[in-house]
């Protein structure tokens, strides 16, 4: 069922335009231009420190938490709305654009409370509704079968992979349109990684995924489109297959063949 051809939804849901971003005086993103298509899985790859995480974190404005971070120039538009314009409510924005972090970090509370956290802060108190949402999102995150009998247990008692899937469940409980994932498998073992990848593939089409990864194999396995970053600039972006097999840029080629670290 999921949309097979990306070209079926031609308009980009996120478009980054001449985006410059800095921490204090240290600029980390230079003139980034990047359309991200709706309902695709887009992977950001590149050596560490290349700015891919920063771009991801500026899409839901979570970087606002960092004191010195600031937009130098340029815009990020989601569905035509400039995210950094004063009319945008960052809280509402984050409800629509979910995020999963590199280090799985469930709150030291029950599994249920973790799953419905987003709903609770959105002001939903109806018990049945919360229960429904928890079941739905845990099922979506393929965790329901494993935890349905111990929803009241402490989330920190789960295994690493389960904790990360719980974090994904927590993010999709709010039914966001876009899910940002910052190296979601970096802290996991291969089996847990495989499960998460499977999960992403199963959810593909329902959400727009943007995934930062340092693992090129992973990008090949799950992404429709891949963007290569180097030193704060977008070097190349394209269909994953194309980018890995016939890179259009020397740097990209060096990187995907492992010569550039």
């Amino acid at each position: 069922m999921p949309t097979d051809s990306p070209s079926a939804t031609p308009h980009p849901i996120i478009s980054v335009e001449r985006f410059n971003y800095a921490y204090g005086d240290h600029q980390v993103l230079f003139d980034v231009d990047l359309p991200i298509r709706s309902e695709d899985v887009t992977a950001f790859i590149g050596p560490s420190g290349c700015g891919k995480s920063t771009l991801l974190r500026s899409i839901n404005r979570i970087n606002d938490l960092v004191d010195s971070a600031r937009v130098v120039s340029g815009t990020i538009k989601v569905d035509g709305v400039d995210l950094y314009s004063p009319e945008v409510d960052p809280i509402a924005l984050r409800r629509q654009i979910g995020m999963v972090f590199q280090k799985y970090n469930p709150f030291p509370r029950s599994i249920f409370e973790n799953a419905v956290y987003g709903l609770r802060v959105a002001g939903i108190t109806d018990k049945a509704e919360l229960m429904d949402a928890a079941e739905r999102s845990l099922k979506a995150a393929a965790l329901w079968e494993e935890v349905k009998d111990r929803l009241q247990e402490l989330a920190t008692g789960l295994s690493g992979g389960q904790q990360q899937r719980l974090c994904i469940a927590r993010a999709i409980a709010l039914q966001p349109r876009i899910l940002l994932m910052d190296e979601p498998c970096a802290a996991l073992d291969p089996i847990a990684t495989a499960k998460i990848e499977e999960l992403i593939l199963s959810l593909r089409g329902s959400y727009t995924f943007v995934i930062v990864t340092h693992n090129m194999e992973q990008a090949k396995r799950i992404a429709d489109r891949t963007t290569f970053f180097y030193k704060g600039k977008v070097i190349e972006t394209g269909d994953t297959l194309d980018l890995f097999t016939k890179p259009g840029n020397k740097l990209t080629e060096d990187y995907v063949t492992g010569r550039l670290v």
Binding site: M1, G80, V81, E87, A92, R136, S206
Partner: protein, 616 residues
């Protein structure tokens, strides 16, 4: 198919992102309201600091003008003139006569020494024997006071007699008594009973012998005795002239005070009041000159030869002192002549009087002085003592725990030292009164330690005692900062040093400690801050004598009692009336303390900042 297919139909996303109209008050949103609340809470720290300054200043600010007015009256009433003459003369007088008296005593002792020794030995022995037979004596006394029939008395009486004679036989008798005398004395001792209230014949005899010798000796040292008397009498005439002036000046002051307290009283016309005193100035000066010449006479009368060396030494001192004092009298004369009773006391003078005044005298019937120097010296000396004790201890402990101790040792050393912080200062003060004071005093009486300056000490409560306890209070602060600083020295330094063949100790003292120095210094300064601001320990233990310690003792000065800045506030504030000069003076002391603490804190911060951004 995945269960997420109930994804809402693709509505346009854009509008969902926009800000909705929500709660707001005068354009302030809920979020910024919360934020403002917390920033207001944060500013409490600043506000409190400012309020402390405000309230200290409010009550302390009036001090200078009050003190100025008080000093003004002091001057215009002529009291200052009296003090100008009397105080230095009294000091000189005390110094020279005490030297002369000591010299005379030494001289007399050369002749009467043996007789005195014999007498004293007998008195001591009697006391000892009585102490040894105390239980029997008490038993007998019980029977006696019970007015029991005489026949029941015999038994306890007998027991007492036996006990006494036992004691008399067993007690060692010093060699100053001849063997015949010992025999006699033992016999007499055995008769010591409660009914026998007369002195032992032996003691009476010895007393008589001593008195005879003493009279003879005094005759022999007549010149010296005469010199002592002359010196004692030297300022008598001066004092005599001063007495009525004193009275008059005080009268003037009281009139002025009455006028101050109520407008109904007549205004005091100071020049008129001062006139008799100014008129007497000439007489006073002649009397002063007279005193000078008497001193010279006394000096001339000093005997050239002495029997004892000590006396010779003391007389030599007197010979040096007397000409000096003659010069001093000239100085006094000058000052008295220069003194201008109508010159108004300035604010600056009052401020100087507070900062550098050597006297803190309150509730005096004569004149109150609020000079902070005695308190400051007390505070500083005690802090120095505390730091000198605490610094080596806490640095040793920090170096040991961070560099040498095994994990198990660390496990109990660190909590114990941290625990000291929790001991309330009042408890330490109590320990100083109940335990440490006596401990130090008894240790100081060990003959082995007599060579130490100031030993043996008489005052149980003194600066050293307070310093020891404050040192203990400063240890945890200094220890934890020093230990942190030492632990934060990179491991690579130690590795490099050891690879060069340095021993562990060399590594520690040549590389690690210097690298942690700024942190250690910050710790010492914070310790100083704690010590100088501590109240209860010094209030209880420092001895509370308001005087500048006598540095003539050298290092022994630390065993003198003193008062402190903190102690004086705690002690006196409860007993003064609100708004009086004394009350204001105490708040001024508070301001001084506050400034000191800010300065110490600032220095500590400066050092700590060097710690935060070290290297290069």
């Amino acid at each position: 198919m995945s269960p997420v297919s109930q994804q809402p139909a693709s509505r346009p996303l854009g509008p969902l992102l926009l800000r909705k109209k929500g709660f707001s008050l005068f354009g302030i949103t809920r979020a910024s309201l919360v934020r403002r609340f917390f920033s207001a809470m944060a500013s409490v720290a600043i506000i409190v600091l400012v309020l402390i300054m405000v309230f200290l200043l409010r009550d302390g600010a009036g001090f200078l003008s009050t003190y100025r007015a008080s000093l003004d009256v002091y001057r215009k009433s002529g009291m200052e003139l009296c003090d100008l003459l009397e105080q230095p003369v009294r000091e000189m007088q005390d110094k020279s006569t005490s030297l002369l008296r000591r010299a005379l005593a030494h001289e007399l002792a050369t002749l009467t020494g043996e007789a005195k020794q014999r007498r004293d030995a007998v008195v001591v022995l009697i006391g000892k024997v009585q102490a040894m037979s105390a239980p029997e004596r008490a038993a007998l006394e019980v029977v006696l006071t019970a007015s029991a029939p005489p026949e029941t008395l015999a038994d306890p009486r007998d027991q007492l007699r036996q006990a006494t004679s036992r004691a008399a036989m067993s007690i060692p008798i010093p060699s100053v008594l001849s063997s015949r005398e010992v025999e006699q004395f033992r016999r007499e001792l055995a008769t010591l009973t409660p009914e026998n209230t007369e002195l032992l014949p032996m003691l009476t005899a010895l007393e008589a012998e001593f008195a005879r010798q003493d009279t003879a000796a005094r005759a022999q040292f007549a010149p010296l005795s005469a010199a002592v008397a002359a010196c004692e009498q030297a300022p008598a005439a001066l004092y005599e002239t001063l007495v009525p002036l004193h009275k008059h000046a005080r009268n003037t002051k009281e009139l002025a005070q009455k006028r101050l307290s109520s407008r109904d009283q007549p205004e005091v016309h100071f020049p008129d009041q001062l006139k008799p005193i100014l008129d007497a100035r000439e007489t006073l000066l002649t009397r002063l000159d007279d005193y000078g010449s008497r001193l010279k006479q006394a000096q001339a009368a000093l005997p050239a030869e002495t029997r004892s060396e000590e006396a010779a030494e003391l007389l030599a001192q007197v010979r040096e002192l007397l000409p000096e004092q003659a010069v001093q009298t000239a100085g006094i004369r000058e000052k008295v002549l220069e003194w201008d009773g109508m010159h108004t006391v300035s604010m600056f003078h009052a401020a100087l009087g507070f900062c550098f005044g050597p006297h803190w005298i309150t509730n005096s019937p004569w004149q109150d002085f609020y000079g902070v120097v005695p308190l400051l010296t007390g505070s500083v000396l005690i802090s120095v003592i505390a730091l000198l004790i605490a610094t080596p201890l806490s640095i040793a402990a920090a170096v040991y725990t961070s560099q040498f101790a095994s994990d198990r040792e660390k496990e109990y050393i660190k909590p114990v030292i941290e625990f000291i912080q929790a001991i309330p200062s009042i408890v330490l003060g109590f320990i100083g009164i109940a335990l440490l004071g006596d401990l130090i005093k008894s240790v100081s009486h060990w003959p082995l330690l007599a060579w130490l300056p100031g030993f043996p000490i008489e005052e149980r409560l003194n600066m050293f005692n307070a310093g020891c306890l404050l040192a203990l209070m400063a240890v945890p602060t200094m220890f934890s900062l020093a230990e942190d600083a030492l632990n934060s020295v990179p491991q690579s330094y130690a590795a490099a040093s050891e690879a060069l063949g340095a021993t562990k100790l060399q590594t520690v003292f040549r590389v690690i400690v210097p690298a942690a120095l700024s942190g250690i210094l910050a710790g010492i300064l914070l310790g100083l801050g704690r010590v100088i601001g501590e109240t209860m320990v010094v209030l209880l233990v420092a001895g509370n004598r308001i005087a500048i310690p006598d540095f003539g003792d050298g290092l022994g000065v630390v065993f003198q009692p003193a008062h402190t800045l903190t102690g004086i506030i705690a002690q006196e504030l409860g007993e003064v009336s609100r708004g009086s000069g004394h009350w204001q003076a105490l708040f001024m002391v508070g301001i001084l303390l506050f400034i000191i603490s800010l300065v110490v804190n600032w220095c500590a911060r400066a050092f700590a900042r060097r710690l935060e951004t070290p290297k290069s």
